[in-house]
């Protein structure tokens, strides 16, 4: 803990400096009425052009001549202030809100603070208090429903499960389409690292987090969502899919005093969105009791036992109506944070510590996150600004496996209605005395055995650090360097107990994942006012970026455990399967420039250009350039429109191109240890026999290209910002059209060429969209403030072209044959391709096989479902009356489809409520029977209820594709600030008490369950529910005390 001496030392240095100072310098901070900093305010000596602007933390420092007597402080959106200097050297100014100006400052690319009115592209800013203390553990969850142009879907409600976010659609065929996450100017990893769940691989693994989970929401000051490539041109390749710019809290409150803030919250979680079950029929098949099946096609409860129905062999044959529901537990989230910040605008520090624990809604699942953070800033010799922060995080995740085929959930979903599952938990009998699985259904894990005997643990340590030093060569020229490091090490262990159905001989898998990213930016900025003509300000920026990313995953897999329940690699007797390592190293050097023109505060033009050199492209062709231009025109100011109705109006337009390099190591043909087969039977070299161990290598399935070029996306955007009724209402609308070309992907080639795929540049994909953000403050009085915010997003994605002769290909990742997330010409990205029942051309009805009364065999390779929503809406209300505030957020997603294996299990196993209705009656599948002469007659073949539902219960059946339209009360919160009188008597700054609820209810008219599930989590594969965890409903309370 030596670090906290730093500001003190720096302060001493500064004092020394002041004694010898020849120039007079004043410094201070520009603050809003609540004491929060106002960045970007201009501080000018009255009657001169000499001035400076405040930094992100609101601080400034300025040389002044002896003659100076008054400072003029102005900031967009705030009333100007004039302050007499009166011999002071520290002047802190508080500005009040200027009601008739719509403006906001935002942190844009490279951490540059900008007046939002100057931007020719769309961004959306959220304050930390719109995100924290609302029951979300993951930052991306907290953004749900609040940002236009963005699609967010969580994997599930499982503790720590990842959350997918795509900004303005998907622009790359195979690269990550998650936005770049940037913390205080430093790009960080938001990767999802997956560990195989036994032979089912990542189709049946624990749901791992996206690594934004490691960010402590308590530390976040603001989040700015940069939506298009124009917004992120300066981050280059990495921000092709947009960027999430996170600014963390800084020290240096008003008056230089030290503030201590303590925050504690506690919430409860329950599983939500489970399908309804029937409780009339129990375990069995074809109406006959069978204790070894997980189906509920047995006799009706209460039927007299006979030899025919086999109930004579049954004991305690009755319904356990809650056997599925009671598997889920009440989750608990406890989040505690303490922050100490102090110093003045020049020398300040902030120290915080947080501890979050979550126990999940699934047994034996949890997340524990500890965060320690330090940040300090200093200014010396009035010209050199330096700052650094370091965050140390430890995240532990305990998870259980999912997926169909012997995961806890795969067995649980649609479980036979007469199985007394809860008793296994109560009595601890889910395993035998020798530790093996105890369940009456052969080759099937007891769900509790799955949860407790086959867990995955992840133990991650992460360091996030950055240091910045800046030097003002002249009042108009600044050079700064920023260095950032993000590194983590995730040690994971996946266990399969002996007798586990997936790995009967037991397994210990140790998987260590390491990622590091080092990023350095040299930025030279120059600013001149009144260049050439009065009122023309020019800002120039020149930068250089070095980025290095390292990834390593080392996996040691020990199979066939010699000693059951001894889960150490020493216990294993086979190490030849799954033991491997993967390393990647990639580097990028970028050069960029930005030139911004502002004319009289109403006309803005900005040009950027960037050239990247990437290690992943062929050396002779590894440099690529991409430009952007954007313009903004505040017509209300330009034409001097002053109206109480139209208070503010701006039109903007931008065009931007962004390039993106290749993943590493695509340019060489390689060999790999031979491996054959899939989940039903497989072989992996080396071969161990009595004669010894034999290695076997074969060519990789991909053939390297002759050459490779970068990917490019070009985006066109037009938009408008309008403020109405003294800016009590504002509208931000944008239309965008992006075209992605030269995609890098592996295209399937004729397998008889000896290779399965080849890496190429090709394809074309477009995204067209409209996004709308409306903010209204219908009531604003001294005591009552009501804010309404609504957003609308519609994005139409289309794959225009892939490669000659290629109609579709699978999105890289794991998939089941028969439901493959794909890229298909003429369809939006990510449609799921599988088998579809043929239809009669005349009537459009499904064809029935006349010999069985069941549906005809499916036609393979058809589009089975489309996960892309038609549009989405979000709607947030915040009402503040005196010290009480109430907020709620609704969201609505129209369209999009989910293929649900969960639903299939409930149907085919006869557990879903409708399967219990009129079960004894024969049924007829809707459809037609083809007859001679190419005609078809309505199906009249009666089949049993079981056959009927199983015909609709195939995992990959079109009957288990659901419209994912859902309306949801996403978030409700009620806050109360203790009255000032009470606070003062307690010597406190403020005390805020709030209660909140998350995912309060939903209405999904066309789905048997909550359709907002995305088993594969953050990534390009969407719209699959592969028997994963359900969503969680959260309620909780929060207490925040500042002293």
């Amino acid at each position: 803990m030596r670090k906290h001496h730093l500001p003190v030392c720096a302060l001493l240095l500064l004092c020394t400096h002041l004694l010898f100072a020849q120039d007079r310098t004043i410094s201070g901070k520009v603050l809003d009425p609540s004491g929060k900093p106002i960045p970007g305010a201009s501080i000018i000596i009255k009657g001169t052009k000499t001035g400076t602007s405040s930094s992100a933390d609101g601080s400034y420092s300025l040389h002044i001549p002896e003659s100076a007597s008054t400072l003029v402080i102005s900031a967009v959106g705030w009333t100007n202030a004039e302050v007499a200097i009166s011999g002071r050297s520290v002047i802190t100014v508080t500005l009040s809100i200027k009601e008739n100006t719509l403006s906001e400052v935002v942190v844009t690319s490279l951490g540059i603070v900008r007046d939002k009115r100057s931007l020719g592209y769309a961004t959306q800013n959220l304050k930390g208090d719109q995100l924290a203390d609302k029951g979300s553990v993951n930052l991306v969850n907290a953004l749900e429903g609040k940002v236009s142009g963005v699609n967010i879907t969580g994997a599930s409600g499982s503790a720590g499960a990842s959350v997918n976010i795509n900004i303005r659609g998907i622009t790359s065929f195979t690269k990550s389409n998650q936005p770049l996450f940037v913390v205080d100017g430093i790009p960080i990893s938001n990767d999802v690292d997956r560990t195989n769940g036994g032979p089912n691989g990542t189709l049946g693994d624990n749901q791992p987090p996206n690594r934004a989970l490691d960010l402590d929401l308590n530390n976040i000051e603001s989040v700015n969502v940069l939506k298009g490539p124009a917004a992120s041109a300066l981050y280059g390749s990495r921000a092709a899919a947009g960027a999430i710019i996170i600014t963390t809290r800084k020290g240096g409150g008003p008056g230089g005093r030290t503030e201590i803030t303590a925050n504690t919250s506690y919430s409860l979680q329950t599983a939500a969105g489970l399908p309804e079950v029937q409780n009339l029929y129990g375990q069995g098949l074809n109406g006959i009791y069978n204790p070894t099946t997980n189906n509920s096609w047995g006799p009706k409860f209460g039927t007299a036992p006979t030899a025919a129905n086999n109930l004579a062999a049954a004991t305690d044959y009755r319904a356990y109506p809650n056997n599925v529901k009671e598997f889920f537990e009440t989750g608990h989230i406890s989040d505690n944070n303490i922050t100490i910040s102090g110093g003045d605008p020049k020398q300040n520090f902030s120290i915080s510590g947080s501890y979050l624990t979550q126990t999940g809604i699934l047994p034996n699942t949890s997340v524990k996150r500890s965060t320690v953070r330090f940040a300090g800033n200093t200014v010396f010799r009035n010209k050199i600004k330096a700052g650094a922060s370091m965050t140390f995080t430890n995240t532990l995740q305990n998870g259980i496996l999912g997926g169909n085929g012997n995961s806890s959930l795969g067995v649980l979903w649609g479980m036979a209605r007469s199985i007394d599952l809860t008793s296994y938990k109560k009595k601890g009998t889910y395993k035998n005395i020798d530790g093996t699985n105890n369940f009456p259904i052969p080759s099937t894990d007891n769900p509790y055995f799955g949860a407790y005997a086959n867990p995955l643990t992840s133990n991650l340590y992460r360091i996030l650090g950055n240091a910045t030093i800046g030097y003002d060569f002249t009042p108009w020229l600044n050079v700064s360097y920023r260095l950032g490091i993000d590194a983590y090490n995730d040690r994971r262990k996946q266990i399969f107990a002996v007798s586990a159905a997936r790995v009967p001989t037991g397994q210990v898998l140790e998987n260590t994942i390491f990622r590091s990213e080092i990023n350095g930016d040299l930025i030279i900025t120059a600013h001149k006012s009144d260049v050439f003509i009065k009122g023309l300000d020019i800002t120039g920026l020149l930068g250089q970026n070095i980025n290095q990313r390292i990834f390593q995953s080392v996996q040691a897999q020990g199979d066939a455990l010699a000693i059951p329940a001894y889960y150490n690699l020493n216990s294993a007797t086979v190490f030849s399967v799954g033991t491997n390592e993967t390393n990647t190293l990639q580097r990028l050097v970028g050069y960029y420039a930005q030139l911004s023109f502002a004319y009289k505060g109403y006309l803005y033009l900005e040009l950027t250009g960037r050239a990247d050199q990437s290690s992943t492209l062929p050396q002779s062709k590894n440099t690529y350039f991409y430009p952007s231009a954007n313009a903004g025109f505040v017509f209300t100011d330009a034409f001097g429109i002053t109206s109480d109705i139209l208070s503010y109006g701006k039109l903007r337009a931008s065009v931007a191109k962004v390039g993106s390099d290749a993943p590493p190591y695509l340019l060489q043909n390689t060999y790999a240890p031979g491996s054959y087969g899939n989940n039903v039977a497989s072989f992996n070299f080396p071969l161990t026999t009595a004669n010894g161990i034999t290695a076997g290598f074969g060519n990789s399935t991909r053939i390297a290209p002759v050459t490779l070029a970068p990917e490019f996306t070009t985006a066109y955007e037009v938009g408008a910002n309008v403020g109405l009724f003294k800016n009590r209402a504002s509208i931000d609308v944008a239309y965008f059209n992006t075209v992605s070309r030269s995609q890098i992907f592996n295209v399937g080639i004729s397998p008889s060429s000896g290779w399965n795929t080849m890496t190429i540049n090709g394809g074309k994909m477009t995204n067209k969209g409209v996004e709308l953000l409306i903010n209204i403050t219908p009531v604003l009085t001294r005591d009552l403030k009501w804010d309404i915010s609504g957003n609308f997003t519609k994005i139409v994605n289309k794959v225009v072209f892939i490669a000659p002769g290629t109609d579709n290909f699978a999105i890289p990742g794991s998939a089941f044959t028969g439901s493959i997330p794909s890229i298909k010409i003429g369809y939006p990205y990510g449609v799921i391709i599988g088998g579809v029942i043929p239809r009669d051309s005349a009537t459009g009805q499904r064809l029935i096989n006349p010999s069985t009364g069941l549906y005809a065999n499916v036609i393979a390779n058809q589009v089975l479902s489309n996960p892309n929503p038609e549009y989405s809406l979000g709607f947030t209300n915040n009402v503040k009356y005196k010290s009480v505030s109430l907020g709620f957020t609704f969201d609505f997603t129209k369209g999009g489809q989910v293929l649900s294996f969960t639903s299939a299990a409930f149907k085919s196993r006869g557990a879903w409520a409708p399967t219990g209705v009129d079960r004894e009656k024969p049924r007829i599948l809707p459809g037609v029977i083809p007859v001679a002469g190419g005609k078809a007659v309505p199906n009249n073949i009666e089949i049993s209820s079981q056959a009927y539902w199983q015909a609709m219960g195939g995992l990959q059946s079109e009957f288990n594709v659901y419209d994912a339209t859902v309306f949801r009360l996403r978030e409700v919160s009620l806050g109360y600030d203790l009255p000032a009188s009470v606070i003062r008597s307690l010597h406190l700054n403020y005390v805020r008490l709030s209660v909140f609820a998350n995912n309060v209810f939903y209405v999904a008219p066309n789905s048997i369950m909550d359709p907002e599930l995305n088993t594969q989590g953050a990534g390009n594969i969407r719209g699959l529910d592969l028997q994963s965890a359900p969503n969680a409903r959260t309620i909780g309370a929060n207490l925040k005390v500042s002293l």
Partner: protein, 493 residues
């Protein structure tokens, strides 16, 4: 001024060339060249895996060795074959065995023994492709970027060669391999990495000659003259052929997890509910009083055979009671019950066998008039099969003594061929591909349609596999629309 100079120096330092800095794109994860000693085990396993995985499951249910009770095996049983077999065509054959064997042949010219072995394995792999799918890429296959749209060569051209199209016959491919083996010497020589024959060149030559016999007998319907000449060529060869079961081309697997025979991993680990003994095979074997041998192929968990009729929609018997592949095919499971572990999986995958060669020669004598004692070959075949599955000599003699009508060829040529092929069919339980080849060529044993058939033609047992979706969609030279599965292959009866 001083400040400007400092700034300039900083800039210069940071903007300097970074060519070396960026030269980090050589993969540390995979080798970019390998020796034949690690290629040969891979290709050998690839062939064996292809033969005993999905292709075995589909052919085994089609010839009614087994019956499908769930999932794909059940679909195959009802002739629902479209949209499968990409893994076999692509992963196991063209991108598994064939591409790597071609790489060996191209790159290992300095090591003729490896090249020779690779040619024999390549001929075997291609024969699997064309016997199951028909016309297929052959002369232009496996060339990578040099040919991304390989031509589909005709089965007859591949078997017989077609110099005008630049197609080497399978026979010449094998002969060329044997010639390489005869040349010998070279930079690398196989040893323990030759997991079948331990580097014994003589055994490989026998394998090559036996392969010629297999190819020759496949042509009885279409080119008996060529078949006759090749068989006589082999019988006259000093190198011999597989004439005892110890010389079988049988690829070893092991009990180690990940190294197990797919017959074991599929049936005993991952998909225990999917296939079981066919009722029709059980009926056949009972009729031949051959249930002792059947019990070596299939288990009797309840002390009796529990079979299932092909294509039936009835509820299958409980899993625990079903007759499924026994240890001859799935490996040693001794001690399995005691340890609770799913041991086993070390049974070899039999690709060319002594019993097969004997049955081929018996048929060649009967059908083609090759010199020899058909009945002796026939009995040697039965005996080799019985010995191979583990029936002791006494029991074999007893069977021969009590079933003279079974173990002696009688009747017309056609009846004798039926006897031979029926015995060959029984001996090949566990290798459905060979039984399927013989069934389509000879029509024996006579099989009734399964129940509830669908597919391209519900009324005909499929005579070929449908081309895979990947090849159809990616290779414009693939026959499109694909031939239906009731279109007979060139050599079929």
């Amino acid at each position: 001024m001083k400040r400007t100079i400092i700034a300039f120096i900083i800039l210069l330092t940071l903007f300097t060339s970074c060519k070396k800095f960026l030269d980090v794109n050589n993969t540390p994860n995979n080798p970019i060249s390998v020796t034949p000693a690690v290629q040969l085990p891979n290709t050998t396993i690839a062939i064996a895996f292809a033969s005993s995985n999905d292709l075995d499951r589909v052919t085994s249910v089609l010839v009614q060795h087994t019956a499908g009770t769930l999932n794909q095996a059940q679909q195959y049983d009802r002739f629902d074959l479209a949209s499968f077999f990409d893994n076999s065509w692509t992963g196991e054959l063209y991108d598994g065995a064939i591409s790597n064997l071609l790489l060996m042949i191209r790159n290992d010219t300095a090591s003729p023994i490896y090249t020779g072995i690779a040619k024999l394995e390549l001929a075997y792999a291609f024969s699997m492709v064309i016997d199951l799918w028909g016309d297929a890429p052959y002369s232009e296959a496996g060339q990578g970027l040099a040919n991304l749209k390989p031509r589909f060569d005709k089965v007859q051209d591949i078997y017989q060669g077609n110099s005008s199209l630049g197609i080497t016959s399978l026979f010449d491919l094998v002969r060329s391999g044997i010639a390489d083996l005869n040349a010998g010497g070279g930079l690398y020589k196989p040893g323990g990495d030759d997991i079948v024959y331990g580097g014994n060149v003589g055994k490989w030559k026998r394998m090559g000659n036996s392969l010629l016999l297999k190819f020759a007998i496949q042509l009885t319907n279409v080119n008996p003259a060529l078949a006759t000449s090749v068989i006589n060529e082999v019988l006259g060869s000093p190198d011999g052929y597989i004439n005892n079961s110890g010389l079988d081309f049988a690829v070893p697997f092991s009990t180690t997890v990940g190294n197990q025979n797919p017959l074991f991993t599929f049936n005993n680990v991952n998909r225990a509910s999917d296939q079981m003994l066919s009722q029709r095979l059980l009926t056949l074997m009972r009729g031949l009083n051959d249930t002792v041998r059947l019990a070596k192929f299939f288990t009797r968990p309840t002390g009796k055979f529990v079979a299932f009729d092909n294509g039936s929609t009835a509820a299958p018997p409980t899993q625990a009671s079903r007759s499924r592949y026994n240890t001859y095919l799935t490996g040693d499971r001794s001690g399995e019950a005691a340890s609770g572990k799913a041991g086993g999986g070390d049974s070899s995958v039999k690709l060319l066998t002594c019993f097969q060669v004997n049955f081929i020669l018996a048929e060649a004598v009967v059908r083609l008039g090759i010199t020899g004692d058909a009945n002796a070959y026939y009995q040697a075949g039965i005996r080799a099969s019985m010995q191979k599955v583990g029936i002791d000599t006494g029991a074999i003699s007893n069977y021969f003594a009590t079933n003279p009508t079974v173990v002696n060829l009688t009747g017309t040529t056609e009846q004798q061929i039926q006897q031979i092929i029926t015995q060959k069919y029984i001996a090949w339980i566990g290798n459905g591909i060979e039984a399927y080849n013989d069934y389509r060529r000879t029509g024996y044993p006579v099989l009734a349609l399964p129940q509830n058939t669908t597919g391209d033609d519900p009324n005909v047992i499929p005579t070929r596999l449908p081309y895979t979706n990947q090849e159809l969609s990616r290779n414009p030279r693939a026959p499109n629309p694909r031939p239906l599965v009731d279109v007979k292959l060139w050599w079929a009866k």
